[in-house]
Amino acid sequence: MMNSQNGNEDPSGTPKTGPVMSDIVLIGVNHKTAPVELREKLALSDEEADNAMKSLQKMPYVNEAMIISTCNRVEVIMVTKNQTLAVKALSSFISKTKNIPPKELQTSIYILSGTRSITHVFRVASSLDSMMIGEPQILGQVKEAFKTAVTKKNTGLILNRLMHKAFSVAKRVRSETGIGGHAVSISYAAVELAKKIFDSLDGKTVLLVGAGEMAELAVEHLIRNTASGNLLVANRTFSVGVELANRYNGNAIRLEEIPEKLKTVDIIISSTGSPDYVITRNHVKPAMRSRKNRPLFFIDIAVPRDIDPAINRISNAYVYDIDDLQGVINENIETRNAESIKAERIVEESVIKFTEWYESLDVIPTIIDLREKLHLLMNMELSKTLQTLPHLSENDQVAFQRMSESLIKKILHDPTLFLKNPGSHRNRSVYLDFTRKLFNLDK
């Protein structure tokens, strides 16, 4: 049956005896439990993931498995008959191949099973467990991981169904909540704002003032949106500017050229360490005239500020400093949190639905359902037949009844034995699912 007694520190599930159903177990580390150093060490290359898959395949008590490895998480999802053994084997495999002492692993790893593992998978796919909630990449990564596992024939009935449900949950979360629609990083916020000033960023020229790491972070996302646009880099140390410009196919200019370039550029991102304003109102005023009032957008991420805030008062020039952008971000985070409540509800609903299906795969409920179905059919037919035979005595009727009952018992005897023990190497879930379909038990 469903088994969710596991906590973070307790990898040893109760040993299972007798014919219990296999369980969905998830083992992993993510950005919340492990520092980046450990995540880096754990991240699997394609080859390593391949090897891990193979060793999982060899474990007799693991029926299905897949591995999700991104920069923020490494997770293994398994369907196993023996959770304790599987977890132990996997942990030792990881600490061996990755050369990490088991102790270190123990503190950051989480082991989930039952509904908790299902919930976790759904939340990961819907980007609710991401470092940046709602970021769109994770779904693609999970899909990719699943595809790999499928081509390696490492998944079966349960994981296939689980992952397909996870994808549809993610789709619902995306379309029914606003979780993916709000910018929550400086560069996203800057692009969002730029798109409210310029109709399209395609073909716009970006001027980067100061070539620091912060500037590069901000410019990266912006550049992706200005497909055929141009990048200019102005830096105090010219050579550093040239290097950065080269990386993005741009050109380097000297700081003295900025006032002249204001006539042609569209977006300026500034992040110098200068104590004074680098661009002042007097630079911009004349530039506006020669650029025929085409809008000019300043993004000032420097502290102390580089762009004179008075420029914001010039018509068609817009200045956003780091605090303004932070304001945009904070508000978006608020909306996002509100939306994530909606998203969690969707996940919860889907977990309940999946669990229903999953539990139906257990032996006992299936046999009960089967027996009930046969009883139902028998009672219907029996009462029909008895109606046409009114001359029968009460004893005769009881005899009929008894005969039918024992027929049902005889019919069910072999299937029940088989379902309880289909053979050590066979995956019982498949037969249970098949039985339910064959007798149409899920109607």
């Binding site: 000033i197 310029f198 109709d199 025929k292 009032n293 068609n316 304001g327």
Partner: protein
């Protein structure tokens, strides 16, 4: 008659409500249905005006009731067309209620019976009226776009109003669309004035008679000409262009109604009530 007008107003009212819901809820479906409902209203509206035309035998713009009816029709028609062309969905929040208001005004103004003179039957006059009304509708939309521009610009500049920031399109887009509306309107206004002069020549034997309406028409035309000239030569874009579009439309409204109510001149029957 009244019941048909009532149906038209109801449809426009529904469309307005839809657009206002769209402003808040931001679901595509709302503006799509508002657009369809407005189209339905416009279809009934067209039938009504066509019916009037055939019933009285000359173009129905001889009293304030008819004039408003036709003004509402032009606004709805031009909006439906330009919105289809420029995809400025949010403009419906301005255009649909404005159309509704004009129609309600038409509903409230009694239809004064005017004895038609043969003068009204001229093709030049019909051309003049239709073209001028299309010009005025385009300018009304340009004014609306200008208002949206100023709201959005204010939101971006002050960094406080995220409500409109999220809902309105980019400044560049609003500016460009507003400009397109003004070019359309200005072209129509020019042609409309020319047809008017031709008509005057045919009827009164002179192009120009220093009539108040004529003077104000030319003033309005000059304002828009200045706006376009400024944009092409001096780069009057963005905020200034938006303000000019609003001023231009105010002048146009004065030429349209103000001259008739406050000053005297020909075109009087046109606002009779």
């Amino acid at each position: 008659m009244t019941s048909i007008l009532f149906i038209i107003i109801l449809l426009y009212l529904l469309s307005s409500a839809g657009y206002i819901i769209f402003l808040f809820a931001q679901k595509e479906i709302y503006h799509q249905w508002s657009y369809r409902i407005m189209m339905a209203g416009f279809a009934v509206h067209t039938v009504l005006i066509g019916y009037e035309f055939f019933r009285i035998g000359y173009f129905p713009a001889q009293n304030l009731h008819q004039t408003l009816l036709f003004a509402g029709w032009s606004l709805a028609g031009v909006f439906l067309l330009l919105k289809y062309r420029y995809r400025l969905n949010i403009l419906g929040v301005y255009a649909a209620p404005l159309t509704t208001a004009i129609m309600i005004a038409a509903f409230c103004v009694p239809a004064v019976v005017v004895t038609p003179t043969p003068l009204f039957k001229s093709l030049w006059l019909i051309l003049h009226i239709v073209i001028i009304f299309i010009a005025e509708a385009s300018m009304a939309l340009a004014c609306g776009t200008g208002i949206l521009y100023l709201i959005q610009e204010h939101a971006i500049k002050t960094k406080t109003n995220r409500f409109f920031l999220k809902r309105l399109p980019s400044l560049e887009f609003l500016d460009r669309t507003g400009y397109a509306f003004i070019v359309t309107g200005f072209t129509m206004l020019t042609i409309g004035l020319i047809t008017g002069f031709v008509y005057a020549q045919l009827v009164w034997g002179k192009f120009w008679s220093w009539d108040n309406k004529e003077i104000w028409s030319v003033i309005t035309w000059l304002i828009y000409a200045a706006l376009l000239h400024g944009r092409l030569v001096a780069g009057w874009r963005g905020r200034r262009a938006a303000i000019m579009a609003i001023i231009g439309f105010a002048a146009l409204l004065f030429t349209f109604f103000g001259v008739n109510f406050l000053l005297e001149g020909h075109h009087d029957e046109f606002t009779k009530w």
